[in-house]
Each structure stands twice: as C-alpha cells, then as structure tokens.
Symmetry: C2
Subunit: 427 residues, 2 copies
C-alpha cells in the first residue's frame, strides 16, 4: 500500500472527524436551512451536473458497461429533480439527534439521561447510481454525521460535482457549515477502501451498499464496524391454518411485485397438509407471471401433473440463492418446526413471513425465526424505511449489533449518557 | 492454523448457535429457576471448585505469576459465596427480552413492533479472575444468549468446573436447558481466539475484558463485532464558574476513591481564571493522598512554590496515559473550548465531567465532549452498571455501534421487527 494513499485517506478521515464535531452542534433549523439550499442548488446546477455525468457516460460507454449499468449511471433533469425532492423530504423529517431515550434519577439525586447523538464519521461505499451521493449525504447530514462517499469509479465526476454543489450551497446558506462534512474519495485506487477502513481513530461506521461481492470485500477488510446486509433470501411459510386465498395474494406480491429487490420472496414453504390444495393454484398464477420454479420432490410431485411453467428440481445451493428475478424455490414442510429451521439455516436473516389463522403458530414463528423482520399475514415486501414510516432509508441491516432492519435517520445515531448532579461523589 | 483447532472451534460455535435458539424461547420463570439452581450448585460444589482452583494455583505459582495475579486467581469460600450471590442478583433483575421498544400502526393497518431479542452467541474473553465465568455467563443467560467463555489459561480448571456445575444444575432444574448454553474453550492454543472470531456465521458478538493489550489483540483479529473499551482516560474540567469547594470534593473522589478502575480521573483541567485559587489547595489534598502530579508549565508555575508532593512536567504521552494508580495530570486551559478539544483529542471517550455553576457552559461541554458518559457537577466514578441502576454490569463500552457506556442486561439484547397484518400486500 503506497504511503501517499495512506496520507490521502488519513487527511480525508481527519477532516471528516473535525467536521463531525461541528455538525453535532448544529440546530435543527440550521440543518434544514442547509438541506433546502442543497436541494435548490442541485436544480440550479443541473446543467453542470449533467455535463459531469456526460463525461462519466462517455468513459463508461467506452469501457463497455452494460446497458443496465449505463442506465443506472445516467442523470437527466427528471432524476436531478428527484434528488432535489428527496433532499426536501429529508428536511421535513424530524431531527433524530437530542431525543431522550431514557431518563432516571438515582437515589443520590444524580439525574441520568440517555441522549441520541450523531455517530460521527460514516463511510458509504456504493456502486453506480449517482443519486445515492445526494441521498446518503443528506441523511447522514440530517443526523449530524460527516460522510465520506466512495461510489463506483464510473460515477466519479457525477458524484464529485453533486457533493461540491451541496457543500457550496450549504456554506453559502450557513457559513459555519463545515466544508468537510461531505467528501467524495477522489482516487479510484482499489486499496483506498482498505486504507480508509483501517482508520479506527477517525471513522466510526461503514455502510456498504451493493452486490454481495462488494459487501463481502468491504466487510473482510474493515477494521471499523460495518452495518450491512449481504443478500435477501426471504421466505413465506404457508401454514396448515392459513387462509389460502390470502396466502396466494401475499405470495404473488412477495415474489412478483418487484422481484429485483432484497425483500422479495425467494422461497415458498408450504405445510404438507395444505400443499396439495394450495400449490397448483398459486403455481399457475406464478407461471402466468413467468416465474420459474425450483421445487423439492414433494412439491414437484404435486405440481408436475398440471404445471404449465418452468419447473426444475431445487438443488442444495438453490435454497440459499437470492434470484432477484422471476425465479423461486418451493418446498413442502412437515410443519412450523421444519419451516423455522429451514429459514434459520438457509435464510439471510432479512424478512420472513408466516401465513396462518392460528395465533399460537404465528407467535412461535415470530419468536423462532431469527430475522430482522418477521411478518404474520403480511408480505415480506414491507421491509423498507418508507413503509415502516421512517421516511427515507439509507439501507437495511441484517446485523444484530447496531441497527437491525430498515435504517432511517434514527438508526444513524448512537447515544451518550449525560449525568446532571449537584456535587455527587461516589462512596 | 491447524485444521483440528478449526474443527474444535467450529463445533463449539455451532453448538452455541443451536443452544441460542433454544435459549431465546425460554420464559422468564424458566430462566430464573435455572439461575437459582446454578447459585445453589456453586455453594454445594464449593469443595470441588476449590479443588480445581488449587490445581490452577499450583501451576500458576510454578509458572511464577505475581502475587497480585495469584490473588485474583484464588477462590475461597467467601468468593464462591459472592459468585452465588451475584447469580441471585441476576435472577432478581427484570428480563430484558421481549420489551416493546417501539410500536406503530401504518396507514394500511400493518402493526409493527420493535421487540428486544437476545443477540445470539456471545464470546467473552477475559483474564485471570474466575468469578467472571459465573458473572458473565449468568448475565448472558438471563438475556437469552449462549456464551462461549475464554478465560486466562491459568484459570482453566477453575473456569471449567464453574461452568460445568452451572450447566448441570440448570439441566437438573429444567431438562430443556440446552447443554451448550455455556461453554468454556478448553484449548489454551493462542490461535483459538482468532479462529473462533472468524466464525461470523455462528458468533454474533465478542466482548473482551482486560488490559488494553488483550483488547487490541482481540479487536485486530476479529471478524465478528467487538464491543469494548481500550482504557479509561477520564477528565474533570473545573470551569471558571465552578463552586471550587465542590470541585475539590469531586476531583478527590474521581482520583483517589479507587484509582485502579477505568472511570477514575487521570487528568484535571482547570480554567486559567481559577487555577491560581484552586490548584494549590486541591494539590495539597492530592499530595496528602500520595498522588503524584504531572503538570503542564502553567500548572507547574502555580504549584511549584508551595507543593510538597511529587511534581514533574507532563509529557505529550502522559495526556493519553491511563495511570490506574495514585498518579495524574494537571493542565491549565484557556476555557471550555480548549478543555473540550483536549478531552476529544487525548481522552478515551469514557467518562468526563465539568464542574461549573454556569448552565450554558455545562450544556456546551455535555454536547461537545464525545464520550460515553459526560457529567455536570458529579464524579466520573459513576459510570458503572450498578450506579446507573442497571444491576450487574458485563462491561463498559466506549464504542458507538451497539451499546455505549455501562452494559447491563438490556445492552446484551438486540431487536427484531414484528409485523402483524391481516393480509396486507405492497402496492
């Protein structure tokens, strides 16, 4: 690792730490003033942003990026307007800093308050979409954190201009806005991430967003805490006491409404007592939506006679695969015990649902399945900051230390204990 | 790394994960029944425990351990009674699992509950005191976690017997108590920790307790989240608006009441406007308690004429030193700004106090000092699970992701989101 790269990352991280101290002291109106100015500035500087984006697009086209990747990278007026609107939405959200999370007065009169505070310096690592730059930076800023952004190399010009425009606008609106509150890593050196994430004295948290490969690489090299989800292998378990019509609606929604997202269902588990009655109907609906099915032998035996779609045997590996596509697994289970074990063994701890009319079974499932979000008679698709009423979301966590599940502004804070005394000493 | 070591750690971790699933489902009365049985069994098996401890003591004496280390290692009837009593206290504490941390009903009728759950598998790494085995295991158990204990090699027989006695008692009282709920790592291979802390699929958290060297070594090699504090470099800042009599009492308490603990004061910062008036008196009291002082030049100039104790110039390194002894630093600062900067730069983010009669200064200090616990007119010595009303404490965290400050039972839990629907799908 070159020492100049080390120096470069050290400077970014130190600057961010100093900025974070100033950010922690901004009032809610001051932060909102900045967000409003940032949103306006994105619109006013749309031409400049599109120009930088065009430069990225030319290089990406030459580099042979796929059409899908190029589409993600592209910024047009509509997308810039959406970025600005998202900043306006963050402005409207309640400030998560300063919430009193707990309060107690001790017998000696010492009053203790547990107060929500910013985390400090947050590193966001992401792939091609440049709108993440504005979204992530605005959420981190509203929660009082300094942000270090490391986007895909193909989006470097776009990301840099977006961040520069936001910082300049905030400083014009509020002179004490610290200039290093939002920084984009300028080097495309692959070692930059490892270097940055070794600086535990300055960096408090890393949140990688993107494919499993990226996230594993980040987690493997990081010395600072990482909050992430590798993938979303979500399940719906249709119990023997399920309302099968409801089950069918939920299964279709969980799989088909938006298959490419992490909270979409990948595996359907069906109680053996209702499999014969339930599976042929729901499978026909799935086939009509062009969903290919990988099935265990019991499900295959039920489906084979009538199924018109693509059916293949599920392999061991299929059970832990996130298809992100019109493709899924089906398994017949002997009951709740097997369903919960299957989910705990093959799932990703993301979002899993039980469909049942039986209270006791539902409670057992909710208790036993060790996932960030567990649902009773609802679609897995609800695991989302917006759907949870958090406003914008910066990501979803399947970790257990720090935030779990959707992460909004509150999940971008930590806390400190404040003790108010009148001379108390310990005896 | 030997593959047999890998296999051994893998087996322990897998067993712990399976046990954790069963533990998560135990009711509060079931857990309390086990804790009561464990406490009784420690008393009933005192002879057996002392026998194992004697074996450890012989080996430790032969290995040339210091008198202080030998004293930590020693178990006698009194210490075994204390262990049993501590288990009884954990039994009395409220169960942290199942608390409803948040609840909301969405416009579509979906009810969401954020529920406290066990973390899963917790590894505790510690040094010589065998009582930590019972303390840590009981706190992890009450919070529904499986524990893997790795104590000092010198205490292996003692730790093993304590854990065996506890598990056997719990199983006799509650047959479904999972036998791998509490495990002691039997190998003394140094690589065991690295191996164990690479098993991210099974281990959810590591909490090292002990000296800074141990904690840094664990943190450096761990792939699982670590919650810890490296050291406690705590400050008291005596403001220009301080009640100097109160300041003197708090400084004495923070330094002298128990200097060897992490929440004891290491550095006294004094506002220049009151330094001349305050320092000679408090320094005389400190000198009477045999406290050696490392002072900056301004403090030295004030103290030199009259000070009867040990006075030397403070080096750059002294400002970040945890003396854990009758030794401390004194610095004169120009005001709150310099005090807060000094604390944020040289402190350990543990516990820091301001003594002042001025509201605005106090609030500024509490906001700006980025530490787990910040005090206004109270001693730093209060950072402690017992003093915070948490009951027993498993450690203190200066981290920001996960628990911060004293860690009791609630801090040994995470949460999951439960969604209660009646057929909701996402549109």
């Amino acid at each position: 690792m070159s020492s100049s790269l080390h120096e470069e990352m050290l400077q970014i991280a130190r600057q961010a730490k100093l900025a974070s101290r100033a950010l922690a002291l901004l009032t809610t109106p001051e932060k909102n003033l900045c967000l409003e100015a940032m949103a306006s500035a994105l619109l006013e500087n749309a031409a400049k942003i599109k120009e930088a984006n065009a430069r990225d697009m030319v290089a990406a086209t030459q580099a042979g990026l796929s059409t899908a990747m190029l589409d993600r990278l592209r910024l047009d007026d509509k997308r810039i307007e959406n970025m600005a609107r998202a900043l306006g939405e963050v402005e409207q959200l309640p400030d998560p800093v300063g919430r009193i999370l707990d309060e107690r007065v001790r017998p000696n009169g010492l009053r203790l308050q547990k107060i929500a505070t910013p985390i400090g310096v947050v590193v966001i690592i992401y792939e091609s979409r440049p709108n993440v730059t504005a979204d992530a930076a605005s959420l981190c800023f509203k929660s009082g954190n300094a942000t270090i952004l490391r986007g895909g190399r193909e989006a470097l010009y776009s990301n840099s201009v977006i961040s520069t425009v936001m910082v300049a606008a905030a400083r014009a609106a509020l002179p004490k806005f610290p200039e290093h509150a939002i920084q984009v890593v300028q080097t495309t050196d692959r070692d930059a991430i490892r270097e940055l994430l070794s600086l535990t004295l300055y960096v408090d948290l890393c949140m990688p967003r993107g494919g499993e490969g990226l996230i594993r690489a980040v987690t493997d090299c990081s010395k600072v805490p990482v909050i992430k989800h590798y993938k979303g292998v979500c399940h719906v378990y249709v119990d023997c006491a399920a309302d099968l019509e409801m089950a069918s609606r939920i299964v279709m929604n969980a799989k088909v409404q938006r298959p490419a997202v992490c909270n979409a269902m990948e595996t359907l588990l069906v109680h053996e007592a209702v499999a014969g009655k339930f599976l042929p109907g729901v499978a026909a609906l799935l086939a009509a939506s062009k969903v290919a099915i990988h099935a265990d032998s019991a499900a295959t035996a039920i489906l084979q006679p009538s199924f018109a779609g693509t059916l293949s045997p599920a392999s061991e590996q299929d059970w832990s695969t996130e298809y992100n596509d019109y493709e899924m697994n089906v398994k017949v289970v002997s009951g709740l015990r097997e369903a919960a074990d299957h989910i705990n063994n093959y799932g990703s701890g993301h979002s899993d649902a039980i469909i049942t009319g039986d209270d006791a079974s539902a409670k057992k499932f909710l208790a036993e399945v060790d996932s960030a979000a567990v649902y009773w008679n609802a679609s897995t698709r609800f695991t989302d900051g917006g759907e949870f009423g958090m406003g914008a979301e910066i990501g979803i966590s399947t970790d257990k230390i720090g935030a779990r599940g959707p992460m909004g502004l509150e999940e971008l804070t930590t806390y400190k204990w404040m003790g108010f005394g009148d001379g108390q000493i310990r005896s």
